[in-house]
Symmetry: D2
Amino acid sequence: MSERYGYLGPEATFTEAALIALMEARGTAYAARVPMKNVDAALAAVAAGEIDGAVVPIENSVEGGVPATLDALSAHGRLQIVAETLVPITMVLAVKPGTTLADVRAFSSHPHGEAQVRGWIDDHLPNAVYRPASSTAAAARDRAHGTDAAGAPVDHQAAVCPRLAAERYGLEILAEDIGDRQDAVTRFVLVRLPGRLPRSTGADKTTIVAALASDRAGALLEMLEQFSTRGINLSRIESRPTGDGLGLYQFSIDLTGHIHEARMAEALTGVHRVTRSLQFLGSYPSADEVETTVAPENTDAAFADASAWLQRILTTGK
Amino acid sequence: MSERYGYLGPEATFTEAALIALMEARGTAYAARVPMKNVDAALAAVAAGEIDGAVVPIENSVEGGVPATLDALSAHGRLQIVAETLVPITMVLAVKPGTTLADVRAFSSHPHGEAQVRGWIDDHLPNAVYRPASSTAAAARDRAHGTDAAGAPVDHQAAVCPRLAAERYGLEILAEDIGDRQDAVTRFVLVRLPGRLPRSTGADKTTIVAALASDRAGALLEMLEQFSTRGINLSRIESRPTGDGLGLYQFSIDLTGHIHEARMAEALTGVHRVTRSLQFLGSYPSADEVETTVAPENTDAAFADASAWLQRILTTGK
Amino acid sequence: MSERYGYLGPEATFTEAALIALMEARGTAYAARVPMKNVDAALAAVAAGEIDGAVVPIENSVEGGVPATLDALSAHGRLQIVAETLVPITMVLAVKPGTTLADVRAFSSHPHGEAQVRGWIDDHLPNAVYRPASSTAAAARDRAHGTDAAGAPVDHQAAVCPRLAAERYGLEILAEDIGDRQDAVTRFVLVRLPGRLPRSTGADKTTIVAALASDRAGALLEMLEQFSTRGINLSRIESRPTGDGLGLYQFSIDLTGHIHEARMAEALTGVHRVTRSLQFLGSYPSADEVETTVAPENTDAAFADASAWLQRILTTGK
Amino acid sequence: MSERYGYLGPEATFTEAALIALMEARGTAYAARVPMKNVDAALAAVAAGEIDGAVVPIENSVEGGVPATLDALSAHGRLQIVAETLVPITMVLAVKPGTTLADVRAFSSHPHGEAQVRGWIDDHLPNAVYRPASSTAAAARDRAHGTDAAGAPVDHQAAVCPRLAAERYGLEILAEDIGDRQDAVTRFVLVRLPGRLPRSTGADKTTIVAALASDRAGALLEMLEQFSTRGINLSRIESRPTGDGLGLYQFSIDLTGHIHEARMAEALTGVHRVTRSLQFLGSYPSADEVETTVAPENTDAAFADASAWLQRILTTGK
């Protein structure tokens, strides 16, 4: 039986595009793709074993998602990130074949999608009315079907949506890459039940959530020193209130390196000691495939040397 | 002539509620409130001197806003945060007077608003259809008017929106505080042209954006040590790509304390030295009014003592 | 056959007093005590297996000794400190029975001994002439014998020496504790061939010599962070040129704690990684018997917890 | 009237050689040189204004002196180091003209001098008897005069002493550089009453004594971070008990840089804040004349830029 993977729906959004990219990279392109109504539902289904994994946005998404994903990953604590991918967020203007720009009196999109293309719309469709949709893909689907999800007729002639949605619903693309910012990218992660960790590739990330034990100046530094004393770099850090009390924070952090590497393993035990709680969310290949530079004193070999030195002293006294 | 303040529109959203709260706190409740179509437009109007200030969401907003605000504050670099306020994000179910729950076959809200009340809707309106709106306030306004902004008739019977929107549009509140999370809060800031800094109150925040000079392990720590060596705490830190190159980050940071305090002034000059760029966004009273605890070695008196000691040596040799 | 212990001679100096104290504490008071002509000779004899151990001064000695001991310990790298003791350095004025203060026209001592009692001599024997001796004990012995080591007659009537020397040579004590400083103390260590480490007592010291890999600002800090991130305190630190080049230093350091404790073991492996060389000189009970205070995050239990947490993730993925 | 400088006597020791070197370097070679009986007396005479300055050994001396000098500098707290010099400690074998090696049946020196040349004596004068002297120079003087300071005849044929002492007392040098270690060097400092600080040369040292406020792990690090956050290197650090209580330490530290440099000035005010006491002993040209390397972020220019940035914000709000 083929594997089944969930993603933040509806279908044809950037999240499905991310899942397709991840499946191709893993050589499992024929797995079934299951749209889920929100991040929490997707992760709950993984936790319950109903699906084999789920793809959810984690960083910088134009469709929101980051805090929701981080919260849901914490809530379904047993889950594990096993891969990530970066998807450029480029919008197209999609219409029924035959429709021209002059025909477009109203367009639809998710409010975030609309916000992203305001400059292009002002230039090319200054008189077009905006019709909100619950997702960019829904705007495309409604245009293709002529009705919304509840069956009511829709009166927009164009959808602002991902290329995938235009193709999925047989729409024609009148204009490509119409976002005001050309460099928008969303980072998606593939989440599974815990099991074998992805093997270390030399270009990996490790994601954790740690709550400081106190709010005194220096508590954050104390945690970060656990990384710096082993030469581990941070590629993302975000403070978030723990909800347990004023002034207490937890930090969502991406680190460069893999828990199979000695410096990361020791650093994480250090963080475990000095924090109130530590959640390991996964070690997985970095999407950018840039090999991590490790100083000589922080290599596995240096750790092995130091460990051998210690063992010699503990057994022979010198 | 009375002052004019912009806010992230449309009217009757949580941002207008934040502006009202800030104006009351400042004793300028009669200032004119001007809705702006987005954060960038609001800040541009402040920068151009067209309005006296603007209120924008900066953290944890359910309506998005954080990255957009931080980006816009950086882009309009001359602006300065002079106040902050925290607004609880509580949704109500608002209807035309006389409508009952049984009458609600469809409801409208911004997709984020809909996401927040899904649990309540499943329990109380399991068969109701969702109609997307471009904002929670727009859902209320459309219900009150019976038409959308473009004049087309709407067919939803209820709006999920802030209390302010229900009141503004003469709607009746069928249910209060219907969000799935009871503790959602958004932090808003009041932004003005630079001028006199708000005076130090003993319970202040300072907001900066700093770009590291390199991505080596320890560069972040080096910056944070500038704070810890003067006993300054962070209440928020978020890494963000600079866009200038792979692996280079800037950090958006809130600090406890005021630039008029010696420890903060010296720490910021230290950060200025060790970073590639440093942007000061303001020192302003903290919304929580919790007085900052300062260790004896970091008080203004300790800095003054140390400075007097240094001057004595520089002038007398001892 | 009874054990034989060397000490920095000649006999009846403070070093022999230290050896006696250490032997009593260890319940081996009947071991033979062998005076050695200098620290290097004493340690060479231990290294060669000719004696079972040696007692040498390591810190703050009025008879010098510290740099010589540290150098010799480094040179005979296989040796190990297994105990320490603190000996108060109190001088007496010793004479042949029957001699009175009025009879003393000349006194003898090591130049350091003479320097220590100058105030007392100025007050009580203002006209007495000083005769240098090669050690405080030699001054006492020469007075008792009436001749020096080479058989030449001596013409001093009093020796400034330790109580042990006065007793050993049958002299009478005319005045006690005549040093200008009442608090002088020398720390002595017992050195043996490597073997079983002394067991951890909860009040231990660990002595190391580490050479920094570079002379840049921060290299010392980088090493010390290996201790501070595990809550380990320093009770002594001294920089010393390595002799290998300008600006390169090694550090002789005493740490509170035992290598059998997890925080110390891990810290030493960290130092091993970040330094150019690391020499372990021993973990042994602290003479002051003050139990080391260990914060909850640095106890063996906290390390064991963290290690168990890591193992669980490495085996189950979570 | 010419200046008068004291030095740790007696005359013709390495300390007088250091004073001669320092006077030549300062172009005041004709100042009077006054031998003082010990370091404390020399510094007391400076403090009392009886002499214009004093030269005392501070580091690594084979004639002791370091702890005594550091203590005396602390006790006479108003004094200031204005220069340093390094003197190679090389011993000669000096005899009355005409005496040959075969004639030497006994030799004299300070016990430290004797310890230094033991190897050479064993090789070249295996049967010679050792006669202790109160200083290496006294051994030379006594040989020249044929009597000791008290007028008693001496029976040694050779003195182990500095070249300066041999020359001063008209002795012939039978062998040069006879120490077992060829690289012994002592560092001497010139101490004066406080006044104008020596000007910054770009290759300077600053000497301080600081007492930590507590003995917790990290208190030392907290102090050292005041240096590392401004890129200041340590060239010497020694812990010393304060005498005020168990476990409390003060640190005698040499830093690379001058108090006239912004990074040093700010670092010292930081140390002033975080320590229990701070004593400034002087900023003076480094004997090695190696220019201090300063990273771009720690130059006076970087500090001036940061200060200008701060002033702009404090006055204009941005």
